[in-house]
Subunit: 223 residues, 2 copies
Amino acid sequence: MISSSSQIVKTKLSTRKRLINATARLFAQHGYNGLTMRSVALEANANLAAANYHFGSKDALVLEMLRERIQPINARRIELLDEAKARNGKTAPSAREIFHSLIFPIGEEIARSSKSRWSLAQLVARTFTEPVSFIERMHQRFFSQIAKLYHQELSLAYPHAPPKEIHWHLHLAVSSMLGSLAQHRRLGDFTEGECNEEEVNEMIDRLIRFVTHGFVKGVNASS
Amino acid sequence: MISSSSQIVKTKLSTRKRLINATARLFAQHGYNGLTMRSVALEANANLAAANYHFGSKDALVLEMLRERIQPINARRIELLDEAKARNGKTAPSAREIFHSLIFPIGEEIARSSKSRWSLAQLVARTFTEPVSFIERMHQRFFSQIAKLYHQELSLAYPHAPPKEIHWHLHLAVSSMLGSLAQHRRLGDFTEGECNEEEVNEMIDRLIRFVTHGFVKGVNASS
DNA sequence: GTCTATAGAACGATAGAC
DNA sequence: GTCTATCGTTCTATAGAC
């Protein structure tokens, strides 16, 4: 009975929570249109009618799942950014520290979710690929203000760079982050087994360095 | 009757070609699961049964569309890469030239397709996000050999870098390229209108520089 | 080659018993 | 809260007239 406690934890999860978890996995794998209420219910060991009872509709279910996954990550980003600002006193944090605060929380969350480690990476990336209308609104609600915050911070760190260049290269950095998360599951295939996709920290560290270099060299060349 | 010639061109397009074009637009916008045979027929001013007559199934239609769009781009990549090698004689092309040959052909293709300019960018990016099984096979068929080619070329350009680092940073560069293509339509929103998503060449040039910097600084730090 | 009409399956959502 | 059963819709694919 070694695994009794984890079994208890697993079976004690409420139907609602199991439905949310199943929705996250299936949305990450198949996207909004590929996810069906029936597949969610099956994956969660719940009933089709129960899913509609708890959330009312497919739209509302997916929306709530996204809210629960994205908000803690954004909160942690602000936390790390504030720490970096406090650490540097009156001088602005470096681009490296700023991008660390942006990307590192995703690595933490991936490492935390032991089961199907990379589904969060796919989920975050898919949130920016799905064109469904309510997801577009989702971005507006969750990401537009944090994008503004990072632009401000990078403007302070690079006061001589044109604001337009900050915008351009921040956009490139964010796009690279999302692309790398979306593509990470292919790392093994792409490199013919030479690189290991299980090493979360390696991936995150390299990604932070990559976008920092692209950003810094890019904006410095323009100022 | 100013537009008579373009009208002739448009109406002279075969049903088959109109179906392919409609499939490309709708696949880029809605993905595989969001694309329906009915929507394709409607968009192409064709009949639902005609679409099945020409291609046999939805799978076969999408597969053929992807083949027709991807192969010319890959051919142009090889062409530019060969030109760079010829230009440099016995010394290897620079990372900048190598990534230029990888990314520039996409810009050319985007500039060529006057109608709905950015649907190709979304299409290419979506090809790497959709988890549908036949698309995974598609990648194997179209991209695994070209990935090997670029790894070889970069290994020659950076003989002192560990092969694993070449692999890692090439993967980051490709992921950044795909992410930037997928995200480009959001550039205007993301930058609050400051950056213009219509300037294809600007976008492609910045992207080439961005991934080159990320790659070069990354592999140099490791050797 | 292109149409109408439809078969057969899967979907989101709900009614109503427990 | 959870179930069975089902409604109404939409999908892919095909049969058959033209």
